[in-house]
């Protein structure tokens, strides 16, 4: 993948995304180690919050990070932030551990690995994610705890209230654009 760099915003692409793209496109092990140092301790905290003991949590973290390495080709920065992509892998892994059946997954929309992607698109995805993080930070502690537990899989769907007051609208318009871009590319490939 080539990052077009006419915009000054290219400099604002987060280190995590730059590492992830280096892993995806160059199979860069140093970048992977950096990604590990950032995400592994957070993943461990995340997994332990949903009840896993330390040793089991480390096993899950190891599996998740190995999947990040092996499935890097599926990462599309125009549609998802690195953290969102890893969250989804982590939830799958934890379900595999807890249940007999793995989670049924939607059809993949395959990413062209060397597709050109404008850095400004990535920056916008990250800006939306920053807004979301801010909104999460502004929740009252009790509220945040409930949101967190919902996204950690501690509630049934009947127990989840849809109203969190989080700004999903802007994130959605960004993801929608990413999908449109992908559909356009897929059409050109045919």
């Amino acid at each position: 993948m080539t990052l077009k760099r006419p915009t000054q915003s290219a400099a604002q692409v987060s280190p995590q995304t730059i590492w992830m793209l280096a892993v995806r496109d160059q199979r860069d092990k140093a970048a992977f180690a950096a990604l590990f140092d950032y995400f592994a301790p957070r993943l461990k905290g995340f997994v332990m919050r949903s009840g896993a003991r330390s040793a089991m949590a480390e096993d899950i973290v190891q599996d998740v990070m190995l999947t990040v390495w092996r499935k890097a080709a599926q990462f599309d920065p125009a549609r998802a932030q690195v953290s969102a992509w890893i969250y989804q892998i982590a939830r799958n892994r934890q379900i595999d551990v807890i249940r007999k059946e793995s989670r049924p997954m939607p059809e993949l929309l395959e990413v062209e690995p060397d597709a050109e992607c404008d850095a400004s698109v990535i920056v916008e995805v990250e800006q939306e994610a920053a807004v979301l993080k801010q909104a999460l930070a502004q929740l009252k502690p009790g509220q945040r705890d409930i949101v967190e537990r919902a996204y950690l899989g501690e509630f049934s769907h009947q127990e989840i209230s849809a109203q969190t007051g989080l700004p999903l609208g802007t994130i959605k318009s960004r993801i929608r654009l990413g999908l449109e871009r992908l559909r356009h590319e897929l059409k050109e490939l045919r």
């Binding site: 092990k29 992977f32 180690a33 590990f36 592994a40 301790p41 957070r42 993943l43 905290g45 995340f46 332990m48 919050r49 330390s54 949590a57 480390e58 190891q62 990070m65 390495w69 998802a80 953290s83 969102a84 890893i86 969250y87 989804q88 982590a90 939830r91 934890q94 249940r99 059946e101 793995s102 989670r103 049924p104 939607p106 059809e107 993949l108 994610a129 979301l132 993080k133 999460l136 949101v147 967190e148 919902a150 996204y151 950690l152 899989g153 501690e154 509630f155 049934s156 769907h157 009947q158 127990e159 989840i160 849809a162 989080l166 999903l168 994130i171 959605k172 993801i175 929608r176 999908l179």
Partner: protein
């Protein structure tokens, strides 16, 4: 681009993203998202929330030995995954094909021209494909819990409205409904329940244990 009018509820998408949704329902959600861009976007937004929570998580130090063991595995070529995804085939989205193990459905008659293929049963519920000839009704039933019905081919109507390809009906135990397939192509649905269906007609009820409905 899409004619889909009936979508997955938000709490159900959150539960799917978080992995707390029962397996039968999760299959229906995965199948609907395969067909519905709107819900793919909404799911992506929920995953972004999950990602933001992960990003803001308090850190727990991981052992150096684990990192070293992981880095040593990077050059290992993984054994072919048994868990291959399946491609869409005709009316059946990828996740349904996977549940069918890549083969066409093997229909069994449940009476009245209606046929079914059971995909999965466990303590959480069951999920099946239903084949309803044009103009025929699915046996009248109510349920103890929630039932999801996703149309894969044709269309049906019931007391709650009209459902075409990609539409998802969420019915709870307050709804006694009788879906009737529209004229034209036979209607094929993916239906999941979190509790055994209880049929209102005598014969289907007697057949229930045998058919594992």
């Amino acid at each position: 681009m899409s004619q889909i009018k009936h979508h997955i509820t938000d709490p159900m998408l959150v539960a799917y993203a978080a992995g707390s949704l029962e397996h039968p329902f999760a299959l229906v959600v995965a199948a609907h998202v395969s067909l519905c861009e709107e819900c793919r976007v909404q799911l992506g937004a929920h995953e972004a929330v999950g990602g933001a929570l992960l990003d803001g998580q308090a850190v727990h130090a991981v052992s150096v030995s684990m990192k070293d063991a992981l880095l040593a595995q990077l050059d290992v070529v993984p054994a072919a995954e048994p868990d291959q995804t399946c491609e869409r085939s005709g009316a059946y989205p990828g996740p349904v094909m996977k549940a069918l193990k890549g083969k066409p459905p093997r229909w069994k008659s449940v009476g009245g021209g209606v046929r079914q293929t059971l995909l999965h049963v466990d303590d959480d519920g069951s999920v099946r494909l239903l084949y309803i000839p044009a103009g025929k009704a699915v046996p009248d039933h109510g349920h103890n819990g929630i039932e999801l019905t996703l149309v894969l081919q044709g269309a049906f109507s019931d007391e709650a409205g009209r459902y075409g390809v990609g539409d998802l009906e969420v019915a709870d135990d307050t709804l006694e409904h009788t879906p009737i397939a529209e004229q034209g192509a036979p209607c094929i649905c993916l239906a999941a329940t979190d509790a055994p269906l209880r049929f209102n007609r005598l014969i289907p009820r007697l057949l229930q244990p045998l058919l594992r409905i």
